[in-house]
Symmetry: C2
Subunit: 195 residues, 2 copies
């Protein structure tokens, strides 16, 4: 029967893996690795829990796979531009506001996988952005007051400033989104302004 | 016997509670709430696990108690000064470098207790710092380009920029501590510089 042909089964497996990665992203963003439950991921992906171990080996490895896929999608979306960092920071701010899972996944990764092997997707993302910054510096389109690493680290932290507040803060005193966004863009502009 | 007198027992209980809070701080900084184990906390504090529930009710409540004590100690140590924010950011940077548990506890708190009741220690810490910033602004000792909340949020994020990197970043490309510290202080100086 056609539905049992090899290409069909391969497509089924790819779809199942994708559903597992999507479900894992949601589960881990909410609960982290220690708090995340493979039973819930399997149920959300409508498949058997044993398949998770067959495809991904372990909960840690499933997290790494989901996070790597997420990092790649995030990079494609954010369109890093070393020659216009205030605009980049504004786009990053919007992503953090619209999709709280982005900061949460990065935070869980830092806390729970700091002794992990290091994900190739993260390493190459860092390198690609640093190279763009160095190129902008060498073309005179970006201050060379600091090295590229410091600039990237400072811009990232400013863009994520509002997304990493303690909960009491956000609930009681945060200004509106337009004001928050302007503060981010203005802060980055000041950071890289010529002397 | 003297060792069974009421004051003696009260002091014993206070010492046990303190040992539990110290052990809880270490355990939760490393593993978070979902990953933290009350068995390990009890063992590290050399007391029975049942005492944790007798004194603190639940693992969540033990985390909140340990985190609140930590926030208070941190505030006493960092000596917030709204009229010299670059120096404050430098002190904060040093604390984050010397004691990685500080950022980790704050991150776990944000991730795992975002729907909690809100800790009075955190709320009052926020308020105290905002009041000092507003006073510095009203005395003309601090820019009023942004409101106090935005300034505090931006300064905190810059001071913690290096402590919240993804692990691959720190391992491969971070400049030395002196360079990192100068970048933080310089960035905050630019942020609040008069126009």
């Amino acid at each position: 029967m056609a539905s049992n042909s090899r290409p069909e089964r391969t497509r089924d497996a790819a779809r199942t893996k994708q559903r597992l990665l999507d479900a894992a992203r949601d589960e881990f963003a909410e609960y982290g690795i220690a708090g995340g439950r493979v039973e819930r991921i399997a149920a959300a992906a409508r498949c058997n829990k044993a398949l998770i171990y067959a495809y991904f080996d372990s909960k840690d490895a499933l997290f790494d796979a989901a996070f790597a896929a997420h990092v790649q999608a995030h990079l494609d979306r954010v369109n890093f531009d070393g020659t216009d960092l205030p605009a980049y920071a504004g786009r990053l701010f919007d992503i953090f506001e619209d999709d709280p899972a982005v900061i949460r996944l990065a935070s869980w990764y830092r806390l729970e996988r700091s002794n992990g092997p290091g994900l190739p997707a993260v390493i190459s993302a860092n390198q690609a952005r640093l190279e763009k910054l160095r190129q902008a510096q060498s073309e005179g389109k970006l201050t060379d007051r600091w090295d590229a690493t410091a600039i990237l680290v400072l811009v990232q932290s400013i863009a994520s400033a509002w997304a990493t507040l303690n909960p009491e803060f956000s609930a009681t005193t945060a200004p509106d989104r337009t004001t928050r966004r302007l503060a981010v863009i203005d802060a980055v502009s000041r950071l890289i302004a010529p002397d």
